[in-house]
């Protein structure tokens, strides 16, 4: 049970002298609340596994500190940190039974046998592994094996945080849901800090109450799923989260107006002080743009195709060089392959050099 603070933490596999652009994990300062369910979300190679391994102590960071409840544990080895980690592929000890697997971390720490038996029975019950406790662990299915990996972490009563490194990769799709809801239930029951690494936004958004999005070694935004959806702090968050992702269109922004392709779009807020020389873009989610019949005064786009997702239809359109996805209302058809675009001004965001600019009301 602990709050985890990262203080100016960075890691470079090439050593501290390497240029900062090449760091696998660029300097980050942030706090992980005790009892929080976090997801670390980002594409492959964005540094999320590096960050996880730094927290668990498998990697010693080349810069910065990690505090557990205010205590600096950066130099401590993995054994000495009270961390549990579940890996992408289930790790089980082949020759042992499920019960022995669960008892292993306690045995290594010299816990008395009676206490071990009690904890193993408790965790076995919690994870629905009771019927298998005396069976060889090798014969079980992948999801049961992942539960054992998790159980080996939970069996220690002093565990501060449980880290998951894409734990559902090898699990069958229908079991993924079950295991994920099991994790959520455990989180509520045990009041543990859980950090869940994934590149799958559905997994991240359903598991976590705080999602931390990483991109190119940097933490670009951390917030609730709703915050990430409504107000992406970085254009990367905008198009990485949501399906289809946010439309990012180059524009000239002056006051309450954005000029795209010669047409003016009204904005919900006023932007008077944009950094000079920055690359200015507007971002708007497809859910807040409607295609309508071409109308004078509206921006006109070429329709490339319409994707019918059943519950909702998205039109894929082209606007000059930019691509733009928009909601196609029921009954919409286009006679000549063009359509007008109607934006919801309050959901248009302005980005300068990919970072969100707060507008004045």
């Amino acid at each position: 049970m602990a709050r985890i603070d990262l203080v100016d933490l960075a890691h470079s596999y090439g050593g501290n002298d390497a240029p900062q652009e090449s760091f696998a994990l660029k300097p980050v300062t942030m706090t992980w609340r005790q009892g929080g369910a976090y997801a670390l979300l980002g594409p492959s190679g964005c540094g999320k596994t590096t960050l996880l391994n730094v927290i668990s102590g498998i990697i010693t960071p080349s810069r910065g500190k990690i505090l557990f409840d205010g205590e600096d544990i950066t130099p401590l080895s993995t054994q000495k940190r009270n961390i549990a980690q579940v890996f992408q592929f289930p790790v089980i000890y082949d020759t042992m039974t499920v019960g022995q697997n669960l008892a292993f971390p306690l045995k290594n720490r010299g816990v008395p046998k009676a206490e071990i038996d009690k904890r193993v029975a408790e965790i076995g019950r919690l994870l629905d592994l009771e019927p298998y406790l005396n069976r060889k662990a090798t014969r079980l299915t992948a999801d049961a094996k992942q539960k054992i990996s998790l159980g080996r972490g939970l069996v220690r009563s002093d565990v501060a945080a449980v880290l998951f490194d894409e734990p559902l990769t090898v699990i069958d799709p229908e079991l993924k849901w079950q295991l994920r809801s099991k994790l959520k239930a455990l989180h509520r029951e045990l009041d543990l800090t859980m950090i869940y690494v994934t590149h799958d936004q559905t997994e991240a958004l359903t598991f976590a109450d705080t999602v931390v999005v990483m991109h190119d070694g940097r933490v670009v935004q951390s917030g609730t799923p709703a915050e990430l959806f409504d107000k992406p702090a970085h254009t990367f968050v905008g198009y990485f989260i949501g399906s289809p992702g946010m439309n990012i269109i180059p524009a000239e922004v002056r006051g309450r107006e954005a000029k795209v392709d010669g047409h003016v779009i009204a904005l919900g807020r006023s932007y008077d002080q944009l950094p000079a020389g920055a690359k200015i873009e507007i971002g708007v989610r497809p859910e807040f743009v409607d295609v309508v019949a071409p109308t004078p005064g509206l921006l006109t786009a070429k329709i490339e195709r319409i994707d019918d997702l059943g519950r909702i239809r998205f039109a894929r359109t082209r606007l000059g060089d930019a691509k733009l996805a928009a909601r196609a209302p029921a009954g919409f058809t286009s006679s000549d392959g063009t359509a007008g675009l109607r934006f919801d001004p309050s959901h248009i965001h302005v980005y300068a050099d990919s970072l969100l600019v707060e507008g004045a009301a």
Partner: protein, 300 residues
């Protein structure tokens, strides 16, 4: 649809049949034939039935005594070299680097003894151990240890065993190393998190993952050491006395030294049979272990 009947296909098998007949079946049948007879030279043979086999298994006769004694020595030798080479090979494999240029260097150094022909290995150790001009023999004697493999039984045994360990530990080490390399990094990381000691990691992860290659290593080393001939023959010639006379050396002595073709044939058949049985036991154990594993993976 009717099958086309074409007996001409048999002709295609004929070349293989002939080659196998000349290389294996005919020599083997000749040996079986010899094992039932006695000869006093001049190509004169006398029928002896299963007499030689009876003698072979009876320790009170000369033939049986020699055979059983050499068989005992051979089994003892195999056990001793297995008891040394397997643990030593594991230790070597565990202490090898896992990445970097040193891996290649280690592999080459380890492979070197394996590439040296048997009789050269024998010659190397024969000279190496000589008290007058051999480096090891000279140094040992200079250090006050009375070492002479030509006259002392124990010295001869030690020399033959050390030679085999030098020659073949690499094989066990290389096999174990291959087994170790196949263990994913996550296992070590998980063990670290579980607070496992070095010994616990070995027992819980490394040994179970190595057990298949170890089985192969034990099989290969047992078979090979059970058939050993060249190296001890070159170093000790089976002596002093009969102390390092293994079954194959005894066999050659009877067949080519005394020209007792009948006795030698009977002995070689029994020898062959023992090896076949051991082979079969190992094969069964290994395929069963493999089947069990497949079953487990199928269930997973």
């Amino acid at each position: 649809m009717d099958k086309t009947v074409n007996q001409k296909a048999w002709f295609l098998v004929l070349p293989v049949f002939l080659v196998v007949a000349f290389s294996a079946v005919l020599p083997l049948m000749t040996v079986v034939n010899y094992s039932m007879q006695d000869t006093f030279g001049n190509n004169q043979f006398f029928w002896n039935g299963v007499g030689w086999f009876k003698e072979l298994l009876d320790p009170s006769t000369d033939l049986g005594g020699r055979f059983l004694a050499s068989l005992g020595r051979n089994l003892f030798f195999s056990m001793v070299i297995l008891a040394i080479e397997v643990p030593l090979g594991i230790v070597v494999a565990l202490s090898m680097p896992r990445q970097g240029w040193t891996v290649a260097a280690c592999l080459v150094i380890l492979a070197l003894p394996l590439l040296i022909p048997w009789n050269v290995v024998g010659t190397i150790w024969q000279i190496f151990g000589r008290p007058d001009i051999g480096l090891m023999g000279y140094v040992l004697n200079a250090a006050g240890i009375d070492y002479n493999y030509v006259s002392n039984d124990i010295d001869a045994w030690v020399t033959v065993i050390v030679m085999d360990v030098w020659h073949w530990t690499s094989l066990v080490a290389l096999l174990c190393y291959a087994g170790l390399k196949s263990i994913p990094e996550a296992y070590y990381q998980a063990a670290q998190i579980d607070g496992a000691s070095r010994w616990a990691v070995f027992k819980a992860i490394q040994l179970p993952k190595m057990n298949r290659v170890l089985l192969i290593a034990v099989l290969l080393r047992f078979m090979d050491s059970f058939m050993i001939y060249t190296e001890p023959f070159v170093v000790t010639g089976g002596g002093p006395g009969n102390s390092t006379t293994f079954v194959s050396i005894e066999l050659v002595k009877i067949a080519l030294g005394q020209f007792d073709l009948g006795k030698a044939a009977a002995l070689s058949l029994v020898y062959n049979l023992i090896i076949l049985i051991v082979c079969w036991i190992f094969y069964t154990v290994m395929t069963n272990a493999g089947a069990e594993r497949k079953h487990q993976e199928g269930a997973a």
